[in-house]
């Protein structure tokens, strides 16, 4: 079962909760294969997508998920909103809550922004990526894709390659994969590979081929230039030569290895086109599963009953004022 009010991160979720979320997501997958890709479940409910960072996949995916559940989806992008006029996140949130949404989906460049919001508003908050912290729906869709192909997660060796330091995808995946019993290896240049991750029970590798040896799944991470305040490696060319996923490097992995990438891809930097478009790539399956995962999360959070939900009355009064 899943009884949390918000969906802020993978951290703290039990194995049982993760498996329940995956099972629920799996039953939603079929809806997107129907002729009429819509069920009436969230009729009359409004979902607000509040995006303070650019996004194609995640925002579209949440929007489609909401619409396939018959909810009304409203997208707010920071660049085209009152945020550019100086409104704070708190004020924006209070105003949005006053419009009575069933849930707010937020992406924000600051780690912890969704958690801050969750304390202040009286509707469920869903983290669609916060800074370098977590991207929990991405981890769920990755798990769903792996489980679909491999049957189960436990016992698999998953190599996460690239800019681990700046990657919320890597953090959420690390937590989810280790909770479900997979062995996680992080591969990248030492400057992008925080040593403290060892305490999460994962292996660190600075040699790509060594790290890929015997891997069941390889997740390439995007090189996040926008978050790199200083130079972490000499040049993109050298990075690509040492850590780019090529067919040659993949020879070390298992013959039935799965290739994943959360997108957007920098082709020729962290992943070769021959690999991204190759037979082991499940990159587009990830996108398809993303809709099912987000439908499941929206369904679970917005159909909680008033009895289950605890609201801090003072905040609600403020928000309504």
């Amino acid at each position: 079962m899943f009884t949390q009010r918000h969906f802020l991160g993978i951290a703290g979720l039990t194995q049982e909760e993760l498996l329940f979320l995956l099972d629920t997501a799996e039953s939603f997958r079929e809806i997107s294969e129907r002729e009429v890709k819509k069920v009436p479940t969230l009729r009359g409910k409004t979902i607000i997508n509040l995006f303070y960072e650019s996004s194609t996949r995640t925002r579209t995916s949440f929007e489609i998920a909401a619409k396939r559940l018959s909810a009304d989806a409203i997208n707010i992008t920071a660049s085209a909103s009152s945020v550019t006029k100086g409104e704070t996140l708190l004020d924006t949130a209070r105003n949005l809550v006053a419009m009575r949404p069933a849930a707010i989906v937020i992406r924000h460049p600051s780690s912890g922004a969704p958690h801050f919001l969750a304390r202040l508003v009286d509707c469920p908050v869903i983290n669609a990526g916060d800074g370098t912290h977590e991207h929990p729906t991405q981890a769920l869709l990755d798990l769903l894709t792996i489980r679909e192909r491999k049957g189960s997660i436990a016992g698999l060796t998953v190599a996460i390659v690239g800019d681990v330091l700046h990657s919320r995808v890597a953090r959420s995946n690390m937590l989810a994969l280790t909770t479900l019993g997979a062995q996680v290896r992080l591969i990248g240049p030492r400057t992008l590979l925080p040593a403290e991750f060892r305490s999460w029970g994962v292996e660190l590798h600075t040699d790509l081929r060594q790290g890929l040896a015997g891997a069941d799944v390889v997740m390439a991470l995007r090189l996040q230039r926008e978050r790199q305040a200083r130079n972490f490696f000499p040049s993109t060319e050298e990075y690509s030569r040492r850590f780019g996923i090529s067919l040659a490097a993949l020879a070390e992995a298992k013959p039935d290895v799965l290739i994943m990438h959360p997108g957007p891809m920098n082709r020729g930097v962290e992943i070769d086109s021959t690999v991204a478009d190759g037979p082991y790539s499940v990159i587009l399956d990830q996108v398809t599963n993303g809709v099912a995962v987000r439908m499941a999360i929206l369904y679970l959070l917005t159909t909680q009953t008033q009895e289950v939900v605890e609201v801090e009355p003072t905040v609600r009064d403020e928000a309504a004022a």
Binding site: R34, E35, K38, V39, T41, A296, T305, V308
Partner: protein, 178 residues
């Protein structure tokens, strides 16, 4: 509310006979198995639809397409009840267009489940007709929906509970009222 003692209203043999009779009624009404398909409603309706399919095959030598439907996402009480029902997935491995569909459920009560199931079915296409087979009709309908095939009409009070136990799940076949 004092609980009444449980009373068995259908035993294994009676359930078997009721399903055999329904099988014949389905064949009679549809004049055979042309365009016929069964769709069971989760959970016990699915078990019953498989039993009916086996009997139809025994009788006519034809395999009837079988699907299953989960109505959770079509309920009219989403967010109103205390417990949030689990979503179990819908699987209809045939085109419903121009098919005579027999919906199968264990207990017919208010009719709301059937309303939801019909909405769900129609999202998959345009069936030629939808019929309804239930093991027990316990009365108290709240919508203008009536089953075509009934195993047993069972007048009940709203305070009573009807439990259908099937060997696929509970290891025994019986319908109990308490």
């Amino acid at each position: 509310m004092a609980k009444k003692a449980a009373r068995v209203v259908l035993d294994g043999e009676a359930i078997r006979r009721a399903l055999t009779r329904i099988t014949h009624e389905i064949l009679e009404k549809n004049q055979g198995t042309d365009h016929l398909a069964l769709v069971g409603i989760h959970t016990r309706g699915v078990d019953l639809s498989r039993r009916l399919a086996a009997k139809l095959e025994e009788e006519e030598g034809v395999k009837i397409p079988c699907g299953e439907i989960d109505i959770t996402l079509y309920r009219d009480d989403v967010g109103r009840k205390r417990t949030r029902p689990e979503v179990r997935g819908t699987h209809i491995p045939f085109s419903v267009d121009d098919t005579r569909i027999v919906l199968v459920d264990d207990v017919f009560y208010t009719g709301r489940t059937i309303r939801a199931a019909m909405d769900a079915l129609i999202d998959f296409g345009r069936p030629r007709s939808i019929q309804l087979a239930v093991l027990v009709d316990r009365g108290h309908r709240e919508l203008p929906i009536r089953p075509d095939y009934v195993g047993k009409n069972l007048p009940t009070a709203r305070s009573e509970h009807v439990h259908v136990r099937l060997s696929e799940r509970e290891g025994t076949d019986e319908v109990v009222i308490e």
